[in-house]
Amino acid sequence: MSLFGERELRRVADEALRHATGDAAEAVVIARTGSLTRFANSAIHQNLVSREADVHVRVAVGKRVASLSTNRIDAEGLAKVAREASALARLAPENDRFPGIPEARPLAATASAFRDRTAAASAMDRAKAAKVICDASHAKGLRAAGFVSTDVQELAVANTKGVWAYAPNTVSEAQAAVLGDAGSSFGQRVALDFGDLDAEAVATEAVTKTLRAQRPRDFPVGAHEVVLEPYATRDLIGMLSGQLTGLAVEEGRSFMAGRFGEKVTGDFTLVDDTFDPLGVPRAFDFEGQPTERVTIIERGVAKDVVWDAGTARRARRAPTGHATPERTIPALPMSLRFEPGDKSREQLVKGIRRGVLVTRFWYVRWVHQLRTIVTGMTRDGTFAIENGEIAYPVKNFRFTDSIHGSLGTLKGIGSELRLIMPTEQFGLRAAWQRVPAVHLGAFTFTGATQY
């Protein structure tokens, strides 16, 4: 599916800004063609394509600010949204902490995150990739559920102070939970280029592991050594990302608050690096400001968090270019990389005499944010490790533990990073993480389920 294109997004932004009547205005245009072929019971049951474009107009009248959005991007719709945003801003009470709509700043060059082969992928291309996974599962008497997707996304930011930033990108993804009668497992791959998307690898990983996952046994709850597959590492790091912001520090919600320069967790390094060519590079944030590479944790020491203009000003420091379009979440790390170690997955497992291998987590939720205590379940492939070998499948656990506390027991880091992207946020798939498998010395399972 073709792009809307820079010219069209520029037209949308310019038209909206032309009708805004405040002291300053900003237009964020998000365009997306999302194509997702979903299967279950080894057959496609939902297959969709949607083509969408929205403009978010923010108008400032002094310290009075309002935001409106619409997907009506013809001239009349754009004039209407800009006029209404201007009128609403005038009605809004002053916010003395509003940092202003930012000036233009130079943007660094990044590698392109757009691939023609993803944009050109057809319904039949996706269906054939899905069929690879479905057929491989069916052949072994298993049932596959998951999707193959291609996304063509464009983000443009313009304001009346001279900002213009535009970036297209593509994402293709295949993921599958493969189910037997008494056990399941999971595989996932993300690639910018649909031609690089390895559906066969997803099938092999999930089918092989599912065959080993049948008839899980009981395993005692308690604190165990664990190997977390990259999917499980991502579930924890993704949850932690909300704590790694200037606002969380300001509000006293972050475990990093007041502890910069101190050792706060295990011996690992976490960076937000939008320039990582193996991620989904983009040079700017949702205010069109240059995004900087930020070292968040360096060998366990709290170094920094990410900042938008408002929280940075209040903390008397420079922003890092991580603004979101949602003012209640003013900044987020959206390009997290957990730096790799030197161990293969097998070596991580070898390091455990008795423990648990976790494929992925499910329904991870805060129990106590300040202590980063979360609870959740394991799912789709949980195994006992005995004497350095994956021994047998075990029934799924509930865990309740501190993220930075459990990472404080880190004993080993995998050498291979897996690119994973969460679902849509802010109208597009905006965030990504590259994460390894890890070996933790103690991870607390507080309950178990029946399967």
């Binding site: 394509v49 997907n71 039949m124 209640t328 609870t375 379940m377 507080t446 029946q450």
Partner: protein
């Protein structure tokens, strides 16, 4: 479909955000070669509609290369109808000044006493969301249904920080308090009047006793927390798409497999859970679902026995019955999914909250959700609430911080020995129910009374 949403947040005395979003578009869902396709667009020209319809058919034909059986739909009588949810005060007609005024007054009342600030009150918020969705459903079977949904939600939240603690209190129900109603819904809650109590409780929690660790005791659970308990441990497992594996990759499956229908003891005989898309004000109330099936009512659990599913036409056909009409899509660009309508814990004979507490010698009362998690078949759950109170000899005692409880769904509901009466029943909502790929957010209704459970495991926060 058109959706207009406005939200505002006042935080620490300032208008933090005021946002309004308007989105409009259409979709075509088609069966071709016995398989499904779906295409959507925001451009409503005739040429684009032709393109989208053709694309939906193309997608369906691509789907068919993996087909193992033809999609079949349970029959439904075509309907021509116009329906709108009722309200007394149109929220979009209330002046901006009045809408924001309620937030400033409520948030100001949270900060009210300067001593709160000194004692640890860090962040205070008041928010509202008003919502209107207009939907036209047309089918090749002859249905022509127009529906308009108006929703109002909001609340106040106080956060206190100190002594190594972060504590939260909210009213009426965190971010979840939402109804199909007019502006009167928020007015009637008296947020300014409740704000001083909420702020005081947030501060008091910093130095409150910690919840007893890993013990079994009797718990009495507030009505708003019960609404989420019902949502997670009954509403989701009765979704028939989960039962048949359609959501296995993400939302999961269900322990309530078909052979259990009509015989499985889900809970004690005190437990009655209703499926009802006709209840006034519920977030799951409508005239017709997104397959043109009329609203209905029935029981998911009757006298403790599992008796009913939430269905669509396709899975109803597999069971050889008529659909009870629960398909809803999150906006014009998403495929309809089986969604909870109003799945409600029906009121019992337990009287008031105080009556339920009076029946406890030693236990804990837990109020308002803070944390929620449940496994992908909906058996093992763990909830945390904002606040708890000891119960000693039938009376509410000292405040408890970080309360949590955990259990397995049928055992937990089996331990229910009291459900509050009609006077304590209220239609709560869940406006943040995630399901599907790509992700969709559903709005679901859950009436509930407070309830009492024996021998429940509490306290897992170290």
């Amino acid at each position: 479909m058109r959706r207009l949403v406005e939200g505002a947040l006042v935080k620490n005395g300032r208008l933090e955000t005021i946002d309004r979003g308007d989105t409009f578009g259409f979709a075509v869902r088609a069966i071709a070669d016995g398989a499904w396709g779906f295409a959507a667009s925001q451009v409503t020209t005739a040429a684009e509609m032709d393109r989208v319809a053709a694309l939906a058919v193309e997608l369906a034909k691509a789907s068919a290369i993996t087909k193992r059986a033809d999609a079949r739909l349970a029959p439904v009588k075509p309907a021509i109808a116009v329906w709108a949810s009722p309200w007394r005060i149109d929220p979009f007609a209330v002046s901006q000044e009045e809408r924001l005024g309620l937030l400033f007054m409520s948030e100001g009342a949270l900060r009210g006493e300067p001593t709160h600030q000194r004692r640890g009150l860090r962040t205070t918020r008041a928010h509202y969301e008003i919502w209107r969705e207009e939907k036209l459903f047309l089918s090749s079977e002859g249905s022509d249904i127009e529906q308009t949904f108006t929703e109002v939600g909001g609340g106040i939240i106080a956060e206190a920080v100190g002594e190594g603690e972060l504590q939260i209190r909210s009213f009426p129900d965190g971010f979840r308090c939402q109804r199909q109603a007019g502006w009167e819904f928020l007015q009637d809650f008296d947020m300014p009047g409740n704000a001083p109590r909420i702020a005081s409780e947030a501060v008091a929690l910093l130095s409150a006793k910690t919840c007893p660790q890993d013990v079994r005791t009797t718990v009495v659970i507030s009505a708003n927390q019960m609404s989420l308990q019902v949502h997670e441990s009954c509403g989701h497992p009765i979704e028939l798409d989960r039962v048949y594996g359609s959501e296995a990759a993400f939302a999961g499956t269900s322990f309530l497999t078909p052979e259990k229908l009509g015989t499985f003891r889900y809970g004690s005989d005190k437990v009655n859970i209703r499926i009802d898309s006709t209840s006034p004000g519920g977030l799951g109330t409508f005239a017709y679902d997104d397959e043109g099936v009329p609203a209905s009512e029935g029981w998911a659990v009757k006298d403790g026995i599992f008796t009913g599913y939430l269905m669509n036409r396709e899975y109803a056909a597999q069971m050889g019955i008529a659909s009870n009409g629960t398909m809803r899509a999150d906006g014009w660009a998403r495929v309809p999914l089986i969604r909870m309508t109003n799945v409600s814990l029906w009121h019992g004979d337990g009287g008031t909250l105080d009556d339920l507490i009076a029946g406890v010698d030693d236990g804990i009362y837990m109020d308002t959700n803070r944390s929620w998690s449940i496994d992908d078949r909906r058996l093992n759950f763990q909830f945390g609430t904002e606040v708890g109170w000891e119960i000693k000899n039938g009376k509410r005692g000292a405040m408890i911080k970080n309360p949590t409880y955990t259990g397995m769904t049928p055992e937990f509901w089996g331990s229910c020995d009291g459900v509050g009466g009609e006077s304590s029943w209220f239609m709560w909502g869940t406006p943040n129910c995630g399901k599907g790929q790509p992700g969709q957010i559903g709005h679901t209704g859950h009436g509930a009374s407070p309830a009492r459970f024996r021998n429940v495991r509490v306290g897992v926060v170290k």
